[in-house]
């Protein structure tokens, strides 16, 4: 009995040792298997046998093979690795931008400097064709640089979209595998009440992989299956059911791809970037929504500013042919997308930037515009500032102004089917991205070097010998400041000064529908009143063609062509067609009608005044920053050196004129050596033109400054990510090391285990041998 029980005990020990050896071997074999948790054999004593001498041990039995697994440590690894994946992905992506701008000698900035340098060279030799050609070349080089950088961003954008799509496929694939494993695990666990260790390891590994793609939360069920949730609690895996993520084109922005979740009913919800703060997907989305978008907008703002402000100045100048300068650059325009789910399809909203000060107000943010049935609310996405925009009355072309203008953007809506209202219904919304495409769309509009407007269109007239003036007064400067206007806006600027920004007159054609226009009106865009021509009188209902030159606010042009009724043109130093014109009216380049100012000295008061300004234009006198406006026709007090502004023309007279002295401002014909406008354009380089802290406040940055600020922003963010991603990776490595120190395989330990179980096996063998020999002893007794 005793010997047989020794044999039984020995066999149990042999078995236990063998299983121990097997487990050590399994551990050694899987030492490098990702997600493997080391396993250990749990042994216990067999139930003892009661004898008269007490309980006799009956050997060992193997209870189970257990994986050494800590849910807490694994959870930590998941969360740290998910975070690390996001930061590493973001870092890897932002490096692309960081590297693009790495070399200060190869970025946009030398191109900008070359361009302005070339303008300076033209200013030094205004009539020189080579200098003018060089200016065009460097302008082309600059726009090419903008375009290639813009293109690079577009490429990065598409590549990110592609990677988001890959990431989403991976998520779906992992979800399916996890669901399949859920099924197996539940089945095996319920069948034999032992845990399928290796399957659990595989599933945990899949969850870890899923977690590097997307941040998840895992809930373990009682039956052993995992339920997995993403975003704001959307279930990805529930037991054996899988819900997939999809990629669809964003309804608010056709260039963007949204991640959507399809629930049980088939309804799709967009998962916002803000609820995906982890995993590669989180990294890609964060990069796309923040750094990449900001970069496109920031670079676009510089491009738009250069194009807009150089154009504004260029249009005030006069080219070698004596015509007013046109657009030097093709002006990039703000991008507006209508939500594809809007009730009334089509983009009824237009955004534009109307005057130089508005470029300073551009923020580089994107906006959403939502219609609430009566008004629009404009949300600046950068900081969620909301402004209510109120639609005005539609003009003759059905364009409705939305006021106020926000951040330099003037918005208009198209009139809808119901007259007098905008063509939108409640809830319709629009995405406005003012500068996103500017760097890709900027280009040079001029190809003929002679068309660069280097001079100014007006000058002080010099009488042939001798000058009849008796006094020493002299016109010290004349320049064209802006568009012609017969009025001064009533609004005050932040500085407390009246807003003297001139607004253009509008030429509108009318006549019987279906036939070419037969008459026209000229209307001041601010006062909405007809403009008065010194010769033709009130410019309202005049027969077209007029046959003689018309004089609008001191500028004359000859009008011809075949416009249709309803066509309109804005009239400034440049004449621009209003969108939607169906006919074509031709204008000659406007020429300033000469103005002769006469000085009158009142002998009683000894106060001098000027008269002779264009009859319908008020005159603004600016002395040492203080402006006074004189009504049209009123004599204007003489202050030496003060600036007199009328109809967009600035004149400054200094010295002591004598009574009846006259000063004439005339068209600047043959002015091949005049470089005043080029100097003004060149000065834009060092002038603060961008980045006003608020509407109407002074600009704070040059073009280069705005570019440098963006470079610094990207650099800072990259550096921040460099640090945080390194730290997070180290953190993740630390938690992995901790988890591995608990669950990982140590080969030395396994070697020791091998030796231990080998010894145990040998000892058990010895016990069997002894048991056997004991048995032999008994048998030999019987011989």
């Amino acid at each position: 009995m005793a010997s047989s029980s020794l044999l039984t005990i020995g066999v149990s020990a042999l078995n236990a040792a063998q299983m121990g050896l097997q487990t050590a071997g399994h551990n050694i074999a899987n030492a490098n298997t990702p997600g493997f948790n080391r396993q250990e054999v749990l042994v216990g004593t067999r139930p003892a046998l009661y004898t008269g001498a007490g309980y006799m041990g009956q050997g060992v039995e193997v209870n189970t093979v257990r994986r050494v697994y800590s849910q807490f440590l694994n959870g930590q690894v998941l969360s740290e690795q998910g975070q690390a994946a996001m930061l590493n992905t973001y870092y890897a992506q932002i490096q692309e931008i960081n590297n693009v701008i790495a070399d200060p000698n190869a970025g946009i900035s030398p191109a900008i400097q070359d361009f302005f340098g070339a303008i300076n060279n033209v200013a030094g030799a205004p009539e020189s064709q080579p200098a003018r050609q060089a200016m065009l070349n460097s302008a082309n080089a600059m726009t090419a640089r903008f375009q290639s950088l813009g293109q690079r961003f577009t490429d990065i954008y598409s590549s990110v979209n592609l990677q988001i799509s890959n990431s989403v496929s991976l998520v779906n694939s992992y979800s399916q595998q996890i669901a399949a494993l859920n099924k197996n695990i539940v089945a095996q666990q319920s069948a034999n009440s032992q845990t399928p260790n290796d399957l659990l390891d595989q599933r945990d590994q899949l969850v870890a992989q899923l977690n590097t793609e997307i941040k998840t939360s895992v809930v373990k069920q009682n039956d052993g299956s995992y339920n997995i949730f993403v975003g704001n609690g959307q279930s990805l895996v529930v037991g054996t059911n899988v819900f997939s993520l999809d990629i669809v084109q964003s309804p608010t922005d056709p260039s963007k791809q949204d991640v959507v979740y399809t629930d049980m009913s088939g309804a799709q919800t967009t998962i916002q970037q803000s609820s995906l703060q982890g995993g590669n997907l989180g990294g890609f989305l964060t990069f796309r929504e923040t750094t990449l978008t900001t970069s496109q907008n920031a670079l676009g703002r510089v491009a738009m500013g250069i194009a807009g402000l150089v154009n504004e100045q260029h249009q005030l100048g006069q080219d070698l042919n004596g015509s007013m300068g046109g657009s030097f650059f093709t002006q990039p325009t703000p991008t507006v997308y209508a939500n594809t789910k809007n009730s009334i399809p089509g983009t009824i909203i237009k955004a534009s930037i109307n005057n130089p000060a508005d470029y300073a107000s551009l923020t580089g943010s994107d906006y959403t515009l939502k219609y609430n049935g009566a008004n629009f609310t404009l949300t600046r996405l950068f900081d969620n500032t909301v402004t209510t925009l109120i639609p005005g009355a539609p003009d003759a072309n059905g364009v409705i102004q939305l006021s106020p203008a926000v951040d330099g953007l003037s918005l208009t809506a198209t009139e809808g089917a119901i007259p007098g209202t905008v063509g939108a219904v409640i809830g319709d919304n629009f995405t406005i991205r003012p500068t996103v495409d500017a760097s890709s769309t900027i280009s040079v509009n001029i190809t003929d070097p002679a068309k660069i407007a280097v001079g100014m269109p007006i000058r002080a007239k010099t009488a042939p010998n001798p000058d009849p003036n008796l006094g020493s007064g002299k016109i010290s400067s004349v320049s064209v400041q802006g568009f012609t206007s017969s009025s001064v806006n009533g609004t005050l600027l932040a500085s407390g000064q009246p807003d003297t920004t001139p607004s253009p007159a509008i030429i509108r054609f009318s006549g019987a529908p279906g036939t070419p226009a037969s008459s026209f009106d000229v209307i001041d865009s601010t006062t909405q009143l007809p403009v008065v021509d010194p010769v033709l009188g009130v410019l309202q209902g005049l027969a077209f063609p007029p046959g003689v030159d018309i004089n609008i606010n001191g500028w004359t042009t000859s009008l011809s062509g075949t416009p249709n009724p309803g066509d309109a043109y804005t009239f400034g130093p440049n004449i621009n067609a209003v969108a939607g014109n169906t006919g074509i009216a031709n204008f000659t380049s406007p020429v300033m009608a000469p103005v002769t100012l006469t000085y009158t000295l009142d002998p009683a008061t000894n106060i001098g005044t000027f008269s002779g300004f264009p009859a319908n234009l008020p005159v603004t006198l600016t002395d040492k920053g203080i402006s006074t406006t004189f009504a049209a026709g009123a004599p204007v007090t003489y202050i030496p050196g003060a600036t007199l502004s009328f109809g967009g023309v600035n004149v400054s007279i200094a010295g002591t004129p004598a009574n009846n002295d006259t000063f004439t401002i005339e068209p600047n014909v043959n002015a091949t050596s005049d470089s005043r406008n080029a100097l003004l354009m060149a000065n834009l380089q060092t002038k603060n033109t961008l980045g006003a802290p608020a509407n109407g406040r002074a600009a704070t940055m040059t073009f280069q400054g705005a570019y440098a600020q963006w470079v610094s922003d990207v650099g800072n963010k990259t550096r921040e990510l460099q640090v945080t991603s390194t730290a997070q990776t180290a953190m993740a490595a630390q938690t992995v090391a901790t988890q591995q120190s608990f669950s990982g395989v140590n080969l030395d330990e396994e070697a020791a285990n091998l030796m231990r179980y080998q010894r145990a096996y040998q000892a058990a063998g010895k016990a069997l041998q002894i048991g056997n020999s004991l048995f032999d002893t008994i048998l030999s007794l019987g011989r």
């Binding site: 030398p110 007239k461 650099g715 120190s741 080969l747 330990e749």
Partner: protein, 407 residues
Amino acid sequence: MRVSTSTIFDTNVSMLNQQQTALLHTNQQVASGRRMLTPADDPAASANALQIMQADATNTQYATNRNTAKSSIGLAEAVLQNVTNLLSDVKTSAVQAGNGALSNNDKQTIATELQGRLDQLIALANTSDGTGNYLFSGYQGKTIPFVNTSTGIQYMADDGQRMIQVSSSRQMAGSESGADIFTRIKNGNGKFVTEAPIDPATLLPTNVGNASITQGAVTGAVNIANLPLTISFADPATYSITDVNGNAVIDSNGIDLSNVNYISGQAITLPGMVFSISGTPAAGDSFSVKPSSNEGIFKTMTDLIQALNTATPAQLTTSLGKAMSGLDRGLDSVLTARASLGARLNELDTLQTTGEDLGLQFKQTLSTLQDLDYNKAISDLNRQTTSLQAAQKSFKQISDLSLFNYM
């Protein structure tokens, strides 16, 4: 604590990676000579560097602009120097013409010589630069500024000054208007001019006596509205002064100046002005005091040549006096222009020095911001190499340790 075998390898590999990354970074810094390889290396400094690069580029551009300004101003100055010499010669000739011993032929010779000088002066005023732009034609570089017309020599261009940006805060005129230098010259003393009447047909004086009037001086506020004044001699011993409306003028001492005794050389003091008449007037002679008006240098010379050709000796004295004062004022005008040009050249030199200093400053700042400190970089490189080698060696050693070696 347990250490899993894979952790040993993973940790070592990641350590080696980190060290290699750092080593490569230093290596790239050394190879490129740049401290910042990307803006992320020092965001503030890279933004700063961009700003300074622009400042440096504009500074260099201003230096180019200054050279342009210097050459055009220098050219104008050289031309005006010739004009100065020419006008001095003309003055000498005019003085020579005053010699009473000269015969009509001699005077005509001088007149011919002066005509040559006038042509030369017009040529100088119409000088163009190397690219065919006239120096003194304002904005109209291709318009010849001074043209001889039937009504005298006329200025055909404008008053525009060709401005050049010579420093960030200074635009300098690179040219002078020809009208300002040659034609917009106030006659008399700048406020009023005293004249003997001139026959408009012959351009010769009409006074018969040999009395002459001084140019006069401004002593206070002159009421230009009262001008011109007429000083008329009813007989050689009495004169009256009337204003523009024919009213008798009251002098500063309150004396009504009608039929006052004439004393040769005595100062006549009127409100704001003083002048005197000397010599012997003839009955009916008169003088006038008019507001100063513009009289060009060409007109002065044309009038002088005309007088030399046709005037009687008595007339010639008056004409010569007028011409001399005209030439003086012309010379003044040219010298004023030259002084202005010279001052600008001086300023350009100063700006050049400032610009060079500034450029040096920018380069230094840029260098501090961008350039690599090689001493530090090489020392970093050596340190990083050593520590990478140590890490490799220790990895090798640790990975060799295994219990299996002894089984």
